[in-house]
């Protein structure tokens, strides 16, 4: 093994220290605090208060979300990536749209579109039954989770279950259905497992949707109970309940990841040969029907709620039909006062600082990842994304609350710990895809190390750097789960401002602010799509 150079050792030290301070130490503090008086009080708290029910609610809704989102995401990926559908690119963008809509905004949109007194109720007198309660919570989280499953399964369809493998089954005498069951789905199994874990953890972590759709109906999940107890409860046991729930939340999320890792370990298969065929570009009648169904889904789950929210924000008062003669911009004016503007400033500042710091850290980890020790650090950094935001926020509060309570800094610490993976993954992937010899070729062509970095490596990695920055920025910009627990007087974020407005019952103003927030995200996401194009133009030649 080669000796590591000085900068590599200090780099590893920096990364390890950052990970320990941002995540390790707070988690240790959390566990110590929960078990400060031994396990009995924990178990007692668990049994006495309604915590067990909240845990049960979280687990069963998440299981339902996982089943539905993986099924829908897989069906979508098979239809769009493999089917003979028209306008594939647009359909893909439509299905991924929920990624750009903050989950609690989506929940507000659903209430505006399908809730009692919503657009659909006004128009035809139909409201989705039990939108408030488990049905609504499961439905809206599922809609938000489908893109995650889609992305993972579509990636596997491209990389593992390539078109020629299906064609080989067809010419071997298998019908479409048999080929799906005997070839495509078995090849997708690792991806299905991975997407199930990602969706499950996403659902366990979600706070905005149950806060908007569950709490009003008395349907509590672990994250909403933590929020209720930390933000509103006055009794002395409240904080114990928060600690117990936070630990339980970590256990559920980490448990899901561990189980899937154990299951997935046996199922890996390696493909052979060169690239096996491309999806054909022709469109069939069947493909048109499939596309129509997919567009129907996108319209009903994403477009209708968003449009309903816009109409609600434009309409003068609750109860009036959303007709042009009742339209006004007053709600936007109401929503944008000094306080929301300062919360907008906080969100922008936090997002920009978090994105910049994490891209630097991610770049450092990616640069170090050629050594095994740093590779483990990278894996750890990626796993922090599975940590439930509510639990991490409580842990950070325990660790640094005495010094940083009610400052933006404590929110920043939580963001850094939680979103590290988002800044790191695109870079790590880009470094992996970097052809091994490009920097050697530059050196052999007469460039020194610095010149090589500037002229060859940096241009190749810059799209990934930009992608990582934008990803962290977007997630931090519309973050609600952690900032709802950590904000203090004068440090509210934009997400918190929307939640507070909603809890005050000012529905049109809430809608207006939610629309502004989403518009900001959509504008912010534009460069991501542009850089995506740049990246695909830099495809490597073999």
């Amino acid at each position: 093994m080669r000796r590591s150079r000085g900068w590599e050792r200090s780099g590893r030290l920096v990364v390890g220290l950052a990970l320990a301070l941002l995540v390790g130490y707070p988690l240790v503090r959390l566990v110590l605090a929960a078990f400060a008086d031994g396990p009995e009080p924990v178990l007692a708290t668990f049994e006495r208060s309604g915590i067990a029910r909240a845990v049960g609610n979280t687990v069963w809704t998440s299981a339902a979300v996982t089943a539905a989102a993986v099924a829908l995401g897989t069906a979508g990926a098979l239809t769009i990536e493999r089917g003979a559908v028209p306008a594939r690119r647009w359909l893909r963008a439509g299905l991924l749209l929920p990624l750009l809509v903050p989950p609690f905004v989506a929940a507000l949109g659903w209430t505006a579109g399908y809730g009692p007194g919503g657009v659909l109720d006004d128009a035809v007198g139909v409201a989705v039954p039990q939108l408030y309660g488990p049905v609504g919570v499961i439905t809206v989280i599922t809609v938000n989770a489908v893109p995650l499953a889609y992305l993972i399964v579509a990636g596997a369809l491209r990389g593992r279950a390539e078109p020629d493998l299906e064609r080989a089954a067809r010419v071997s005498g298998a019908s479409v259905r048999t080929a799906l069951w005997t070839i495509t789905l078995p090849l997708l199994r690792p991806a299905l497992g991975a997407s199930a874990v990602v969706v499950f953890v996403f659902s366990v972590n979600s706070f905005g949707v149950p806060a908007v759709l569950g709490t009003p109906a008395g349907f509590e999940t672990m994250t909403t109970v933590i929020y209720q107890n930390l933000a509103f409860a006055a009794d002395p046991d409240a904080f114990t309940r928060v600690l117990v729930l936070a630990v339980a939340l970590v256990l559920v999320a980490v448990g899901a990841v561990a189980v899937s890792d154990a299951v997935a370990a046996g199922g890996r298969v390696r493909r052979t040969g060169g690239p096996a065929g491309t999806t054909s570009a022709h469109v069939t009648t069947q493909g048109r029907w499939a596309a129509a169904v997919a567009w129907g889904y996108v319209g009903a789950t994403s477009l209708v709620p968003l449009v309903a929210l816009v109409l609600l924000a434009l309409t003068r008062a609750v109860g009036l039909p959303p007709a042009p003669r009742y339209w006004t911009l007053q709600n936007f004016a109401d929503a944008v006062d000094g306080r929301t503007l300062s919360s907008l400033g906080h969100s922008l500042l936090l997002a920009a600082v978090a994105a910049t710091l994490l891209v630097c850290l991610g770049g450092l980890v990616a640069a170090l990842e050629r050594s095994p020790a740093a590779r483990r650090l990278g894996t750890l950094a990626t796993m922090t994304f599975a940590l439930p935001g509510s639990a991490l926020a409580v842990a950070v509060l325990l660790a640094y609350g005495s010094v940083l309570a009610d400052t933006l800094a404590i929110i920043l610490v939580a963001y850094l710990g939680k979103l590290w993976a988002l800044g790191h993954r695109p870079l790590a992937a880009a470094v992996d895809r970097l052809p091994g010899d490009v920097h050697r070729a530059a050196r052999a062509s007469g460039a020194g190390p610095a010149t090589t970095l500037i002229t060859v490596v940096a241009p190749l990695l810059s799209p990934a750097l930009a992608a990582g920055w934008v990803l962290v920025f977007l997630f931090a910009f519309h973050e609600l789960t952690m900032s709802a627990l950590l904000y203090g007087p004068g440090t509210a974020t934009l997400g918190v401002a929307v939640l507070n407005l909603q809890q005050l019952g000012d529905t049109p103003a809430t809608a207006a602010l939610a629309i502004l927030l989403t518009a900001g995200v959509l504008v912010g996401a534009a460069p991501l799509l542009v850089f995506r194009g740049t990246w695909s133009r830099l495809r490597r030649v073999d």
């Binding site: 080989a168 010419v171 071997s172 019908s175 054909s280």
Partner: protein
């Protein structure tokens, strides 16, 4: 077109989106015949195979397999209803199945029970000389072994027509020869036809009873390998099928070479390297020498232009020498 065609593509026009790739293509394969479709990349070889296999629908024309209509603009039989065995360019072995189960797959689809299918698949692997490797996954096999599995899988289908997409492009030369023999042997036993798509002239000329030259989705020439090699219809066909020197007829005649009069009045002649010899009466300066083991190629600069001459054995002239050369035959183009 004989009534004995195992595969008959008539007036086939196929394309993607609005762009046609194949234009009114006619390709027929008789009982027990093997046909190589030779063309550069982008000429439409893969499109032709995909249409025959049933993954693309023809815009015009029809495809019949042993007389049964399988594809026309209005009627399309799905791939699994066509009597075809396909060997894919990169084998397309299923990575989650063992070699044995890969080969057993088509037999299972015919309705055979698992055990019987595996038994039959084992015999096919034995035939390919890799009977001992049945338990291995594709990623545990070498490139040549993977291809044998791919071939066994196509054989297991017991089809009337075999389709080969660049069948041996990724194998080294000795393995290529062995595999081509096995292929031809098996096919002859069943009387099935074979359609090879390849860009490799040496391979096309060696494996096929007939070679079809494809350019931009149109047939440029079709004939026995010797015919397309020795009597190419134009310069493009000549260059596609092997090494070729082209000299102006007039300049060659003025060097003192007697030439038959060409009724079509072509201004140039094609000279394959082995149609000329060293030494000889015609003037020429050696500018390059390539020793290739069994023979040596010499590039000669002549008053009529450059010509490549082949001679058995090691180098007999060096760069800068003027051994002189002779012309045995040529073909007007």
């Amino acid at each position: 077109m004989g009534t004995d065609s195992v595969l008959a593509c008539t007036g086939l026009t196929v394309g993607y989106a609005q762009t046609p790739i194949l234009h009114h293509l006619d390709v027929h394969i008789e009982h027990d015949e093997s046909v190589a479709v030779l063309g550069p990349s982008g000429s439409g070889k893969t499109t032709l195979l995909q249409t025959v296999a049933g993954f693309l629908v023809p815009w015009e024309g029809e495809i019949r397999i042993v007389g049964t209509l399988v594809a026309s603009p209005t009627k399309v039989a799905p791939p699994e209803r066509r009597s075809l065995g396909v060997v894919f360019q990169h084998y397309a072995l299923w990575p989650h199945l063992s070699a044995l189960d890969n080969v057993a797959y088509p037999i299972r689809r015919r309705g055979a029970a698992t055990e019987r299918a595996r038994g039959e698949a084992g015999e096919l692997l034995d035939l390919m000389g890799i009977g001992a490797l049945g338990d291995r996954r594709p990623d545990e096999l070498s490139g040549g072994q993977q291809q044998r599995v791919g071939l066994a899988r196509a054989l297991a289908r017991r089809p009337d027509v075999y389709l080969f997409d660049e069948p041996t492009a990724h194998l080294d030369a000795p393995l290529r020869g062995a595999l081509q023999e096995e292929l031809a042997e098996r096919r002859r036993q069943t009387g099935a036809g074979a359609l090879y798509a390849t860009h490799d002239a040496v391979e096309a000329l060696a494996v096929a009873d007939r070679v079809v030259l494809l350019r931009d989705g149109r047939v440029v020439q079709s004939g026995a390998p010797v015919e397309v090699y020795e009597q190419p219809v134009d310069l493009w066909a000549a260059r596609l099928t092997g090494a070729a020197s082209v000299l102006p007829t007039e300049a060659l005649a003025s060097m003192g070479q007697a030439l038959e009069t060409d009724p079509d009045g072509h201004a140039q002649v094609l000279i394959r390297p082995e149609w000329a010899a060293l030494p000889g009466p015609l003037p020429g300066l050696v500018t390059q020498v390539w020793y290739r083991g069994a023979h040596t190629d010499y590039r000669l600069q002549t008053p009529a232009g450059d010509v490549v001459v082949r001679r058995a054995g090691g180098p007999c002239a060096r760069v800068g020498e003027r051994p002189g050369w002779a012309l045995h035959r040529c073909w007007p183009v």
